[in-house]
Symmetry: C2
Subunit: 594 residues, 2 copies
């Protein structure tokens, strides 16, 4: 979105030409001036590619250091990986300090801000996650102190630096995430992308550690049940703990992992939006922060949601106990999980479907002003769905192909099919909600007082082109959120709005009854959103705290083999956890907007 300070000319693709020699003094002077400018401003596209490639390579190097760990190779150990991550964090710290100091120095130049990036509630949520991460760091330090004698010093340095990194990063996010950087663009681009990929790497590390933890626990369970004859390797350090709290620390760590993992991926998503904003020219009209809509009667949504949440916790407890008892209870626990899942997913599908129907009845055009933050939200939502989808399709193939016939076979099939459908519907609902136009009460009143004289069109379609004079603004080239005014004009057949586009619905005429109807619809949508929000929490809690029947049910292992299926799960489960967290965030946004 470009705003040319009042100047918008049809700028044809003209001629580009170079200047590297000069034959008059005039040109010489101009050339020197040009040269200075060249060194200052590197083309934006190149700076993007340069920094994106740098970031990708940092991540890939980190992943290459992680892969040998899964093989338990002796040459590459966790210390090496941690040293690398620590170095990256220190570099990021350095950059953040530089950035903050520079900003302070140029305080007088009020920087542009992107109102859509990092809303205060998302920053609040992140702060909570960061606090839990800090507790985790404290536990790690405690654990290190206990095993100091036989563990590399890096294991102690890492949590200290990580805590420092977390604190400064949260500070940075609170005060600078909305900044639209306009100075030293190329340099800052590197700084921001470094931060993005450092957090992504920390996420990968968290996911890997968590998967390992879970895997070891799973193997122990299996050997306890007499399934397999596995002598679980002693994975702890080769000496005794000098303090009494070591087991407490390591057990607690397991429960704090999920929060730390989500913290890092959220931070990288936020920083990525900041990176996309660098050098961008904000459209001030689209950049106004929308006020939150008033909360209407919330009854069904919260009640049903709380019910879902309560039953989830019940299922989690029963599952965790039964899965370890005996083979009989194990099968019962898995069956219970699938039955519970089917009920939940049906409810979610119905809720999402109703929401979509409401939107179809409304039939309003979508708001498509530029908003990198929202665009990323939608893309990430679709991208992270892939995890659960591949898992579900594999389960379906396995169930159909399976030669054994456990009790939960067909429930598991229904569960997988519903999971695919649920994500399909929920994504549609969230994306449509995020892109939907809405009536803003405050704005409406304001607008009613100042009739927009030059922009009158008749509903019939014949439009009178306005003359905007010299200050004719650049049009951003995309559809915009257009609508009508519920004023007396509606009776005379005249509404205010944008010129119609091919694929746009005609602008509806509104009346007071419609406003009442609309508020009823808003009520429905708000309730649905609350319900879906709570359901997503539920479906996050289960796998995050170890309820993963995909590992236990045996159907998929039979068809895919242990290695392939474990690989699929190690890819899909973290992605699915992220999907749930992310859809919670998006649904909260939807709730405030509807």
């Amino acid at each position: 979105m470009v705003e040319h300070s009042g100047l918008d000319i049809t700028c044809l693709n003209k001629y580009c030409h170079s200047t590297s020699s000069f034959n008059s003094d005039k040109e010489k002077k101009l050339f020197t001036k040009l040269k200075v400018n060249l060194t200052e401003s590197y083309p934006q596209k190149n700076a993007e590619v340069l920094s994106a490639q740098y970031g990708t390579n940092i991540l890939l190097l980190g992943v290459s250091l992680m892969l040998p760990l899964s093989y338990h190779a002796t040459a590459v150990r966790e210390e090496h990986l941690l040293s690398f991550i620590t170095t990256l964090m220190l570099l990021q710290l350095l950059w953040m300090v530089c950035y903050t100091i520079r900003r302070e120095r140029h305080r007088d130049l009020r920087p542009e801000k992107d109102a859509h990036a990092g809303t205060s509630w998302i920053r609040g949520g992140l702060t909570m996650l960061a606090l839990l991460s800090l507790i985790m760091d404290a536990f790690r330090i405690g654990y290190y102190v206990g095993f100091k004698a036989c563990v590399s010093a890096v294991m102690g340095v890492y949590p200290v630096i990580h805590a420092l990194h977390t604190i400064s990063q949260v500070h940075f996010l609170w005060f600078h995430i909305k900044d639209v950087i306009k100075r030293y663009e190329t340099f800052e681009r590197f700084g921001v992308i470094h931060a993005v990929f450092t957090n992504l790497l920390l996420w990968c590390y968290g996911v890997m550690t968590e998967a390992e933890h879970f895997f070891n626990k799973h193997m122990k369970r299996l050997s306890d049940l007499g399934y397999q004859n596995i002598t679980t390797e002693n994975l702890g350090p080769p000496c005794n703990c000098t303090t009494s709290a070591c087991t407490v620390f390591s057990t607690s760590l397991y429960y704090l992992f999920p929060f730390n993992i989500e913290y890092h991926i959220f931070v990288s998503a936020m920083l990525f939006v900041m990176w996309r904003n660098i050098g961008r020219t904000i459209d001030h009209r689209a950049n106004r922060k929308k006020p939150t809509t008033p909360t209407t009667a919330l009854v069904f949504g919260p009640i049903l949601g709380l019910l879902a949440l309560a039953s989830t916790i019940g299922v989690l407890v029963v599952y965790s106990i039964h899965i370890e008892e005996s083979l009989e209870t194990r099968v019962a626990a898995i069956s219970m999980f699938y039955c519970y899942g089917v009920v939940m997913l049906v409810a979610m599908c119905v809720a999402g479907g109703i929401g979509l129907l409401v939107y179809r009845v409304e039939g309003l055009p979508l708001d498509t002003t530029e908003n990198p933050s929202r665009q990323l939200d939608a893309e990430v939502l679709l991208g992270s769905s892939v995890g659960a989808w591949i898992m579900s399709w594999c389960s379906i193939v396995a169930v159909v192909a399976s030669q054994t016939n456990p009790r939960y076979r067909w429930t598991s099939l229904a569960y997988s099919l519903l999971l695919i459908l649920e994500k399909y519907i929920q994504n549609l609902f969230i994306v449509e909600s995020l892109y939907r136009c809405r009536l803003e009460p405050g704005e409406r009143d304001l607008r009613a007082q100042t009739p927009p004289a030059p922009e009158i069109f008749s509903v019939g379609g014949s439009m009178v082109p306005p003359y905007n004079g010299i200050t004719n603004q650049a049009f951003d080239g995309q559809d915009r959120c257009c609508g009508t005014l519920e004023s007396e004009q509606s009776d005379s057949g005249q509404v205010y709005g944008c010129p119609r586009k091919h694929s746009e619905v005609p602008l509806p005429v509104v009346s007071s009854i419609m406003i009442r109807r609309s508020s009823r619809k808003r009520e429905i949508l708000k309730n649905i959103t609350v319900f879906l929000f709570m359901c997503n929490i539920s479906l996050w809690i289960l796998p995050a705290f170890g309820c993963r029947p995909q590992f236990e049910n045996g159907l998929e292992q039979e068809t895919f083999g242990f290695t392939v299926w474990t690989t699929v799960l190690n890819f899909a489960i973290p992605l699915n956890l992220f999907y749930r967290m992310h859809s919670m965030a998006s649904l909260f946004e939807v709730f405030r907007k509807v």
Copy 2:
């Protein structure tokens, strides 16, 4: 990019409101009209999400059917996968027929075309690949006839349908790939995305079959050399061939695979651009096809490129023979490969670096008009680099961590580092070339005759805003390629151009000497492009025809373990092959443009 047929109004974010009830006859009529419109035009964003999700799920189901094959499970066999793919191809055929018929019927409505999508040379190249695919299908049919007695009928049906699919698809690409669909948008969106993902699935299937082929050959080699005691499973059908040509067919298939694989991924990229174009409003000014620049003195580029190509073929032959002979020659072959690689990559880095330097000296702004085809090119280039990068980083970690010390240890380290650097530089060069403005000779002459009266600005910066009247065009909101005219105006200090933006360099003044200099620069750039093109062919040929030292050198297997390393390679090698093919296509585009 939106063109509002002469109407551009500053369209503020207004109020959206719903209409679902009516209290007067007037409104009732309007509402009925609205309802009809609603069923016709589903919001574009939703249609996108709907169809994208559909396509993703098709692909994921296909992948789930593929995964058990790698485990050699008995429940899911190749026939099942092939039946699924055949169904998808038939569906695509049906859609293509429907589409073509509908287009024929509405022949009078001249459809909009995107000039940048599917240039004729790319369609020509695809036709070549398609022909090779057809030969492959013929071989497959021949192979099926030989083993008819003991092989499922699907194995015979598949190549027949695939051949039919290939022929109709090439026909479709020739006549419809540039179409910008404006009717039945939602339906067509599903058709196009179905085609995209069917081709992606065919690509995946090709990659899988090829990897299996290669892997079996690799294992056979190892057991021949006495490395491992593997009894290679008899993977052929369980009966004897009734014709004499079976071995000829299966051997030839191996050499045709790479072309078939590239064919499918290219088609899906092209169709993806078509999908992105649905419902888009083309900016006719940016949509003019640029004429090809005249070919200047090409000496160094082609000579060095041919040298590289010749040496590559030499290396391929020597490698293929030596790797199977003895342990001694095996090590020699791997060493030779790395030495050759280092020389090639250094040359490529230098060439790319010179190209970038030339651009820096020129210092022109970039052309950023909307062009989905180019944008996809750049994204895919960066995305597919990940394959080679992860492979290289793993190799680096392995070399550093290795406890053995083969002759090629440090050469392999240099090779990996250079591979990362080469991709980094080449991507920068290609992206910058694609986004670069250029002087068009024909246009220049035309422009010199008709001075653009209303758009005169002084270099000093004070600009006179023009009045464009009613036909004031929509400005697409992005920077555009701006430049100056090499006319007498330069002396009087006046140039024609766009209003300056924050991050844009000032418009240079040009003279006749500069034109000569510029043509010298173009000469350098053309030579570099030809050289890089040939180098990329070379680096595609080697892995495509079985020269994959990453499998043979043993360093990475030691650090990562056989399973992890094979998984990494099975992901990275196909992506890298695609990268090389894609950069060849991009470099060809660059060659025509520079």
